[in-house]
């Protein structure tokens, strides 16, 4: 029954987003219109649409920077024209699960930096928390504005062999990618206007407004229109495009450390008309870099004196200081316990079973079974420094063995999960490629999630790594109204 663009498509033994897997390959009903439209395209039409998309990204400067890449620092994030479609029923559950999770993580952070009940009751070992590099002694006892720590969260979701949604990790520091979500949508609406309209896709355009409202909610000066700014490390940061994009969409200033100055525990920005007091800083810098007086002496990115102003309550930060603790993949393993402990509920979204090399029993198991597991550093992001057992050499495994023995706290291991696959345009035609999903959760007065998120796709054949820095691309994600 497959003809046209999909004529050579194989689901193999994977969970496929578009096709049922049984004797004959059948299309899932929520993909029918997409399938019809794409399958009918000629190779020329398709090429035209693809090059239109690429040149649109390039012209608008929708680029990211890859570290350690000497030739040309900017690249277009590869974009695939086949949209990922999520039916309403699936999304409702995911949305509830994510809300439950961000609530639990925030309660956890509040608890850790106040009474630490969860440690006292022995549910999470104290040592785990205190050895996390992102745990901040400095804010113990400090009441963050509105009692919210993670205002902007990007949790990565995958689907396993059965199609069950699972959380792979939480990004509670400075998750990026939302600008691609918005740009992808703009491009898809231009490329397939009728298909888009006829499928009744939920809009994502409100994100910048919701984000601004989330930020304004934090202002220490509620009596007047808050002055919010976006603090960026600057033009050489890999996500700089996103910083300018969001600032522009929100109509707030994008600032660098040198644009801000702290005087007598207040923070000001330097304008042509003099100094203007700043209320809320959406910072896209890690804790370590925001204040050279407080954290690191050699950084020029931050604002000397910012932390004092923050601790005095004169300026708010989003996300709060100290949220990196929730990104730690060791902490991740305890999120189901947090949900039970703080909310008295069962987790709606599953987590991936995680072995903590810090525990002797787990460590022994991991060391014995390295070839079947994926080993990840607990506090790295961007897909760096992982070992995928099935694709590793003996030398690499030995290397990881000694690293794990040397520093067990810093490594976790998980069974290798074969992520769901999605039809994707490749050089050889439409092929199945592994995908994940990064929704963006905003926690202000309410918890808001724009429908869907950024679907990332591993463009290399058989690759399970979707990060943009490791050859990943992205797709638009269509959550249906009905």
């Amino acid at each position: 029954m497959n003809s046209g663009q999909f004529s050579n498509y194989q689901t193999n033994s994977f969970f496929d987003e578009m096709f049922y897997f049984d004797e004959k390959t059948r299309i899932k009903p929520h993909y029918e219109k997409v399938y019809k439209r794409l399958n009918g395209l000629s190779a020329d039409e398709l090429d035209a649409k693809r090059s239109q998309a690429v040149s649109s990204f390039l012209e608008h400067g929708v680029t990211f920077t890859v570290y350690d890449d000497s030739d040309g620092i900017e690249r277009v994030f590869p974009f695939d024209l086949i949209p990922r479609v999520i039916p309403k029923a699936e999304w409702v559950v995911v949305e509830q699960g994510l809300k439950q999770r961000i609530l639990a993580l925030n309660l956890f952070l509040h608890d850790i930096y106040h009474q630490a009940r969860i440690l006292k009751e022995g549910i999470i070992p104290r040592e785990i928390v205190e050895t996390c590099p992102y745990y901040r002694n400095e804010i113990i006892g400090f009441d963050v504005p509105q009692d919210i720590y993670i205002h902007i969260c990007g949790s990565d979701l995958i689907r396993n062999e059965e199609g069950t949604y699972m959380v792979l990790e939480d990004n509670g520091r400075c998750p990026s990618g939302v600008s691609y979500l918005l740009e992808n949508r703009a491009i898809m609406k231009r490329a397939f206007p009728k298909t888009y309209q006829s499928m009744e896709v939920r809009s994502v355009e409100a994100y910048p407004e919701l984000l601004l409202r989330t930020l304004e909610h934090l202002s220490p000066r509620q009596s007047q229109k808050p002055v919010c700014v976006l603090l960026s490390p600057g033009v050489y940061n890999s996500a700089y495009f996103e910083h300018t994009f969001l600032a522009r969409q929100m109509g707030i200033e994008i600032v660098e450390g040198r644009d801000l100055i702290a005087i007598d525990n207040y923070v000001f920005m330097r304008t042509t008309l003099g100094l203007v007091q700043v209320d809320v800083i959406y910072r896209r810098l890690d804790d370590d870099y925001i204040d050279p007086l407080f954290f690191k002496n050699d950084s020029i990115l931050g604002v000397p004196g910012l932390m004092e102003a923050y601790l005095k309550g004169n300026v708010s930060l989003a996300n709060a200081v100290g949220t990196g603790l929730a990104d730690d993949k060791v902490t991740y393993a305890f999120v189901p316990e947090m949900i039970k402990f703080y909310l008295g509920q069962d987790p709606i979204l599953e987590s991936v079973p995680t072995y903590l090399c810090w525990r002797e029993k787990d460590r022994n198991y991991v060391l014995e079974n390295l070839d079947k597991l994926v080993v990840k550093p607990a506090n790295e992001s961007g897909g760096y420094g992982m070992l995928i057992g099935t694709a590793s050499t003996k030398q690499e495994r030995n290397d990881f063995k000694s690293r794990i023995k040397q520093n067990p706290r810093e490594y976790i291991a998980q069974p290798i999960i074969s992520l769901s696959r999605h039809p994707t345009f490749c050089d050889e035609g439409v092929m199945g490629r592994h995908i994940d999903l990064r929704p963006f959760i905003l926690y202000g007065e309410d918890i808001e999630i724009v429908p869907g998120g950024l679907t990332r796709v591993a463009l290399k054949k058989d690759s399970l790594v979707v990060n943009s820095s490791q050859g990943g691309g992205s797709k638009d994600t269509w959550v249906l109204k009905n």
Binding site: L58, H60, G61, V235, Y240, T244, R258, D259, T271, T272
Partner: protein, 323 residues
């Protein structure tokens, strides 16, 4: 607006104007150079290189085509390719201030220069290449007039454009004073054409092509948009609209300096200039304009206490990299 943003907008415009001027100048001189013998080519280009302060760097290099050097020389800080690189880098930091159309134009010319396509076009079809670069600059200036509010940021862009333009016109004129011989008809025409002034000049002087008339026109024309007087008046207007202080008064050093330059070009005439020496006059003007640029920076970008501890400011470090 943010001080840094004002600074970025100012430099973005300056670099774009600079790229356009250099392109016009090479276009004109390349066609004039066809009239001279191959072994006297370096002599021909010498005044031009001196006027744009490029002769030292160029002379260190042997066997490179002058056009390739001025357009693509990576070690020549003001090569057109570098100008676009800096302009775009400045623009990238202030994208929220530009219209999408402006950004797309600037990004396209940048990508054109980065891709090697520019160099190929320059070698195969120089005319098309010159047109493309000049057209970009004109489109960009048109867009900035027509697609963004004429607010504070726009004023800083105008300051950058006119300071650069006054400087470039003065340099074009200065090539005449670097000639080893009395400027010929060809030399005079080349200068006028580099400033797109040949038609306008003819209309005013009815074909009387002399050194004095050319200098008079480019220095003192009231309404020609590339004359030095016109540019200085625009700088004066924009500075006063930023501060809100009426013209003829001053509230900062930049306003005082530009006001005195304006008085000079308003109330002197070409006879006095020629008897004092054209080069000397141009030199004084250029120095004043550089000071105006510096004073704008000190007034709107630096904080008062940073003037005292200048070496500590990251702004000053960035500033010196730009120049």
């Amino acid at each position: 607006m943010l001080s840094r943003v004002a600074d970025n907008l100012y430099w973005m415009s300056r670099f774009i104007e600079r790229a356009e001027s250099i392109t016009r100048m090479v276009e004109v001189n390349q066609s004039s150079s066809l009239e001279c013998m191959e072994d006297s080519l370096s002599e021909f280009w010498d005044p031009v290189l001196k006027a744009i302060c490029a002769s030292e760097i160029f002379n260190e290099r042997t066997k490179i085509d002058i056009g390739q050097f001025l357009f693509f020389g990576s070690d020549f800080p003001n090569s057109v390719k570098n100008c676009f690189l800096y302009a775009r880098e400045n623009a990238r930091m202030v994208r929220d201030q530009l219209s999408v159309e402006m950004w797309v134009e600037l990004n396209n010319i940048y990508l054109f220069f980065q891709s090697g396509q520019a160099e190929a076009t320059f070698l195969q079809n120089p005319q098309e290449f010159f047109q493309k670069v000049i057209r970009f600059s004109l489109v960009f200036q048109g867009l900035s007039g027509a697609t963004i509010p004429h607010d504070e940021g726009w004023r800083f862009m105008a300051l950058g454009t006119y300071l650069e333009r006054a400087d470039q016109t003065s340099r074009m004129l200065d090539t005449l004073t670097f000639q080893k011989h009395e400027p010929t008809r060809l030399d005079l025409l080349a200068v006028l054409r580099s400033c797109v002034a040949q038609t306008a000049f003819r209309r005013q002087y009815k074909g009387e092509l002399s050194m004095t008339n050319v200098a008079d026109y480019l220095l003192f024309s009231r309404d020609f948009p590339r004359s030095i007087r016109f540019s200085i008046r625009c700088i004066d207007e924009n500075l006063h609209s930023l501060s809100g202080v009426p013209s003829g008064n001053f509230s900062n050093e930049a306003e005082r300096l530009i006001g005195s330059s304006l008085a000079m070009v308003n109330f002197t005439d070409i006879k006095i200039v020629m008897s004092n020496g054209l080069h000397q006059t141009i030199d004084d003007l250029q120095r004043k304009l550089i000071n105006v640029g510096q004073c704008i920076f000190e007034t709107y970008v630096l904080l008062p206490f940073e003037l005292q501890s200048a070496e500590k400011s990251t702004f000053i470090q960035a500033q010196s990299q730009q120049q």
